[in-house]
Amino acid sequence: MIEALRLMVLTRTFDEKATAMQRQGRFGTFSSVRGQEASVVGCSFALDPQKDWLAPQYRELPALIRHGYPIENFALYFMGNPRGGAIPENVNMLPLQISLAAQIPQATGVAWGLKLQGSDGVVVTFFGDGASSEGDVHESMNLAGVTKAPVIFFLQNNGWAISTPRKNQTAARSFAERALGYGIHGVTVDGNDLLAVHQVTEEAVARARAGEGATLIESVTYRTGAHNTADDPSRYIDQAELDEWVKKDPIERVENYLRAKGVWDDATAQAMRDECAAEIDEAMTKARAVPLAGPEALFDHVYVDPPARMEQQRTAWIERTAGA
């Protein structure tokens, strides 16, 4: 639990640092996980990074870290450096997904493929209440039902899709109820309750490993920050609702729990914060030390076996830049 808390604090620290840097023009537009840490971390700790896979949206830094994706890559990516997209060989992860819901069919395919090849790995894909309206989600849950693919559809209902509130997104009472229509398991959980999220995810993982197929988890939480660093939520947010949710801050909740258990105090809290700040500073420093890629970055990794025309363009582009 302390480990989980640390991850929550770590990414809260990242979010604050990156937001500050973005204001100074030293970081790109990005979406913080603020308010949703328990949801992401609780899920993530139910996975085995050695054999399980992640198919993220873009707001789940804690899960990526736990799975082994370097923080500096995440930072580099949002600084606009293509090298940030690099996923280390041993990290079982799909790229961050910007095209909403597009990772979900892929996640389903990875899960199905693992099953076909006799692995007991499971796949978790994260997506938002907004993304849930895309056709890809339906097609994927349906395929997962038919193939009994070991995939967990982890829907973070954080109340908003940019400025669009949950009630404009769907008239369903709950998202989890959709599972029924695909013959998969569905469950709703308080996304600000670390232990509850962890438990429902563990159950889903166990079912998936046992060959019992997919689960849709609706994790009900709230985006207490802006949609991203370019967004101004004061234009649309319901302040009273926001205030309510800020009171339910998942980090405070865990800390209060630990305090009540007598295993947490201001000093340990501060020590953890300091440690996290140092770690984030280091990652940011590392990221900023990586030189921005040159024109070759346009051409690298597009193909295994590139067409001649693209290779000629590579040469021309590199020459032109050298000349300029």
Partner: protein
């Protein structure tokens, strides 16, 4: 008449057209209270209510598809695609349904529908937000594709698109939204589709572009002038219909051409223009027609996008080299 940014001109156009015709509705992601992620629809929901300016669920297929239905029912929808890259999610609805409904129903259902979308790169957006995907749509019979470069044109062409009874994909240069600023009449007016704009007259070479690239190419033409090269700059304004006569007239005069596009080289709309020019003006051409485009690679992350999107320095250098080619 007053100076307006492109986004102001677009917003003013929608407001005035909606005031004039209560069949016009605006639908899209975040177009309501937020006024769109670029504020193109700012204030419209406050003025016209949430039944005429509607925040849609996040699903481009049904945003376009229900727009078709709204039009069939008698309304005149303006649909905002938050970014052109998300038109892919609705490609079956745009490419096969929007473009073909009138044909498939043998004239029964015309489709007075405008799809507006920010378009093009240069402002360091996240992945998949900056690609210049126009060539997919210009190869789609049944659609019209409009791509203004000035605020004046944006207002007049959008009004024309809204007034027309054919479906129009209206591409708004993301880079130009706030950067481009020019004199725009306060009243309503329309600019016909299919007439290019000569941004700058010249005699030595014809430079052809559209959308944000036109602005950039016009700057390049200034620099070329300083080098003694007189470039005529054509801003196409609409890609479908295409002003072939306007292009041919310029090429007949200059005999040399460069076509500049933001999209990757292979199969871009520049290729179409070149194929057309060599058909129409073969005997006037003094040198191969030049393509100045992005390479055949995906749009990269923002940090390196300046290598990807053609810029004025490149246009100047390549056009200068073209001038020394002799037939």
């Amino acid at each position: 008449m007053s100076e307006k940014t492109m986004i102001e001109a677009i917003r003013e156009c929608m407001r005035q057209e909606m005031e004039a015709d209560d069949k016009i509705v605006v639908i899209g992601e975040d177009v309501g209270k937020l006024g769109g992620v670029f504020r193109a629809t700012d204030g419209l929901q406050a003025q016209f209510g949430d039944q005429r300016v509607v925040d849609m669920p996040l699903a481009e297929g049904v945003i376009i598809g229900s727009g078709i239905g709204l039009a069939i029912s008698g309304l005149r929808p303006i649909i905002e695609l938050q970014f052109l890259g998300f038109g892919h999610q609705a490609f079956h609805q745009i490419g096969q349904q929007v473009a073909r409904l009138r044909f498939r129903s043998q004239g029964r259902h015309s489709l007075p529908l405008v799809i507006r979308s920010p378009y093009g790169g240069g402002v360091r957006t996240p992945e998949l937000h900056s690609d210049a995907f126009e060539a997919y749509y210009t190869h789609t019979p049944g659609l019209k594709v409009v791509a203004p470069a000035s605020a004046y044109d944006a207002k007049g062409l959008l009004a024309e698109a809204i007034a027309g009874d054919d479906p129009v994909l209206f591409l708004e240069p993301l880079k130009g939204y706030r950067l481009v600023k020019d004199e725009v009449p306060d009243e309503r007016y329309r600019i016909p589709l299919g007439k290019l704009r000569v941004m700058r007259e010249g005699t030595d070479v014809t430079l052809i572009a559209w959308s944000a690239a036109s602005v950039m190419v016009n700057q390049a033409a200034e620099e070329l002038a300083a080098q003694g090269i007189s470039a005529e700059v054509l801003d196409l304004r609409s890609l479908t219909p295409l002003d072939i006569d306007g292009i041919a007239a310029s090429v007949a005069k200059t005999g040399r051409v460069a076509v500049i596009q933001e999209a990757p080289l292979t199969g871009g709309f520049a290729s179409e223009i070149i194929a057309t020019i060599q058909e129409e003006c073969f005997y006037s051409l003094q040198a191969p027609i030049l393509r100045i485009t992005a390479p055949d690679t995906p749009y990269p992350l923002g940090g390196v996008e300046d290598y990807f999107v053609p810029d004025a320095a490149r246009v100047v250098a390549e056009v200068a080299a073209l001038m020394s080619e002799s037939a």
